[in-house]
């Protein structure tokens, strides 16, 4: 790469900038919309940058006064946090033993493929059976019911991800620990899981995002403030007779913040390379 000509270098930079622009433009526009006044948003020709910065919508959405958009939004925010959090934790609890078992016992690998195969079904095919099951269990319109449904989506995916993580940890390390006298729980707790921490963090983050962004099942299985999640709440904002696009954009920005914060927080754990050095190389 030392011998790249100036032209190629410039070309590569232009391509990178273009890609960044394509990806970031909607996010940037979302943010600009959220701080523009209504007049700016509906004026023709469009004002690309608001004349005055208007932060009133943020305060509107983040108040707890009952029977306001704010109350609904804040309730949905907490519902989303609880549902996504519970589903993620449960998915990891299910996936860690399952993934380890499949990774160390290739003979039962087919079972994981069978579970992954259910991913081929469109969500709508499962909607009715899931609805009936939740109704029978009395879990409709509860965060627990929704978390349970999300668990069925997240568990196969996290298991898959963790399995490849465990595969990367040499079995010899576990054999050595076994000879050294460690019990299975000690091997997992002291050796394997710390080594798999980066993969577990990745799995947790992706699982959380998946649950956080889910809309279809949330729309079907929740009906009021007790269980509605953010995605549904945002859709509600658009559902009235007069849609305040600025308000929807603000809700979008706020909804994006928790995953971003969690991602930043887990960044350290996401950096892999911890397994280096235990075995040769």
């Amino acid at each position: 790469m030392e011998r790249r000509s100036l032209f190629v270098t410039i070309l590569i930079h232009i391509c990178a900038l273009l890609l960044a622009a394509v990806i970031l433009a909607p996010v940037a526009w979302l943010f600009i919309m959220s701080i523009s006044s209504t007049t700016d948003l509906i004026s023709k020709p469009l004002n690309w940058w608001p004349e005055t910065v208007d932060l009133s919508r943020y305060t509107r959405l983040l108040t707890a006064v009952t029977n306001t958009e704010g109350a609904a939004f804040v309730a949905a925010l907490f519902n989303s946090l609880r549902v996504a959090g519970m589903a993620t934790v449960a998915a990891l609890l299910v996936a860690i033993p399952a993934a380890w078992a499949v990774s160390r016992t290739p003979k039962v690998g087919w079972s994981l493929y069978a579970v992954i195969a259910t991913y081929m079904l469109p969500p709508v095919a499962l909607a009715v059976p899931l609805y009936m099951a939740l109704a029978a269990l009395g879990l409709l319109n509860t965060v627990y019911g929704l978390a349970l449904v999300y668990l069925t989506i997240l568990a196969p995916f996290t298991t898959w991800l963790l399995k490849s993580g465990f595969d990367a940890i040499p079995r010899e390390i576990e054999s050595a620990a076994m000879i050294d006298g460690a019990r299975l729980d000690q091997i997992l707790r002291l050796i394997t899981l710390p080594l798999a921490a980066p993969v577990m963090a990745t799995a947790a983050l992706f699982a959380f995002l998946l649950a956080w962004d889910e809309f279809f099942y949330a729309l079907l299985f929740t009906s009021d403030l007790r269980a509605k999640t953010l995605t549904v709440a945002i859709a509600d904002l658009a559902g009235g007779r007069v849609s305040d696009y600025g308000l929807i954009a603000t809700a979008g920005v706020l909804a994006a913040l928790p995953p971003v914060l969690i991602g930043l927080f887990m960044q350290r754990a996401l950096i892999s390379g911890l397994t280096q050095g235990g075995v040769k190389g």
Binding site: E172, I173, S175, A176, I191, L274, K280
Partner: protein, 357 residues
């Protein structure tokens, strides 16, 4: 009492017989090397001793006690893996002390034992580091230290030096030997490197296709190989193998006029017109003086100087021989030369069975 007994051990994976009946008995303090090419079953045998695999049939006794079905941790063994298998997330000190930690040895006693092992292996200054911060040789020492601290009945080594570079490998080999002389523990050591086997072992088991071809001291393996396979596997450059026939109580090498008198036992067993393979080690060949009768006429085609010796490749008729000669032998490519040897240096094998006559 023997430290380790392996009695009729077989291992079958699906339809493949990896081990076809292994019998071994090891006295306390012995250093046994399992030598063989990859796929001969030597690592499987080691894993069976360690308890990482169970035999399909047969029994394994450690210190007179059957250990089949016994968990590895209860077998009183320690193992050093080819890949070292250190715990990357733990410090060197905790790596070495892990077995004691698992056995609930008090921290002070543990630290003492770790320190002692580290001192023997000269890695005291590395105790607080993590494996990723160590060089290959240092990791190897930590892996040995982890086994050492246990003071086990039997040490198991699975090709421990094969990931090191040549110079380091020689140093560690000497160190392992010193360690064994110092501690006197029983060792089972797997390798495909015949030099390691020859230098380290008190006894070598040469393995092939799941069976032991020969179990003997290094000297005996080298001087009296039991089969053609063992003869070819041990020694570098490997032994010259010449097709020959018994004619008139002598062995006549094909493509040569020379008749070689058979050693007494071979002469007793050999039948007229029997096909033989004669083995002569390259280092037993020399440039023949004019009067020597026992010599092979050969055309030299490649000469390699390794430094301490000259490796000469030559053709006897259609058969290739190699001779290691002193460096200043003045051999030129293309010239026919006569290579002399002593009758006692000839190994005689039956061509059909591959067994020594």
């Amino acid at each position: 009492m023997s430290a380790l007994d392996i009695i009729g051990v077989r291992k079958r994976y699906g339809t493949v017989d990896t081990l076809k009946g292994i019998d071994l008995s090891l006295e306390s303090g012995e250093f046994l090397v399992l030598l063989g090419p990859s796929g001969c079953g030597k690592s499987t045998l080691l894993n069976i001793i360690a308890g990482l695999a169970e035999p399909t049939a047969g029994d394994v006794h450690i210190d007179g006690r059957s250990v089949v079905g016994v968990h590895p941790k209860d077998r009183d063994i320690a193992m050093v893996f080819q890949s070292y298998a250190l715990y990357p997330n733990l410090t060197v000190a905790r790596n070495i002390g892990f077995a004691l930690e698992m056995r609930k040895v008090p921290a002070a006693e543990r630290a003492e034992a770790v320190k002692k092992a580290a001192k023997i292996l000269q890695i005291e200054n590395l105790l607080e580091r993590r494996p990723s911060e160590l060089s290959g040789g240092q990791r190897q020492r930590v892996a040995i230290g982890r086994a050492l601290v246990r003071n086990p009945q039997v040490f198991l080594f699975d090709e421990p030096l094969s990931n090191l570079d040549a110079k380091l490998r020689m140093e560690m080999r000497t160190e392992l030997k010193r360690l064994h002389q110092m501690l006197g523990t029983t060792v089972v050591y797997v390798t495909h490197d015949q030099i390691e086997a020859m230098t380290l072992a008190t006894r070598i088991a040469v393995m092939r296709n799941g069976q032991i071809e020969q179990l003997a001291t290094p000297a005996e393996i080298y001087e009296r190989p039991a089969t053609l396979y063992v003869a070819g596997f041990v020694g570098s450059p490997s032994m010259n193998m010449l097709d020959a026939r018994i004619e008139g109580g002598m062995a006549r090498v094909e493509g040569s006029e020379v008749a070689i008198p058979l050693p007494v036992e071979a002469a007793a067993k050999g039948k007229p017109d029997q096909n033989l393979v004669l083995g002569i080690r390259p280092e037993n060949l020399r440039l023949a003086s004019d009067g020597e009768v026992l010599a092979l006429e050969a055309a030299v085609d490649v000469v390699e100087l390794t430094g301490p010796e000259l490796v000469v490749n030559a053709m006897v008729g259609a058969q290739r021989i190699t001779a290691t000669l002193p460096p200043k032998s003045g051999i030129e490519v293309g010239s026919p030369r006569r290579f002399g040897f002593d009758a006692g240096a000839v190994h005689v094998f039956d061509k059909e069975t591959g067994k020594r006559l």
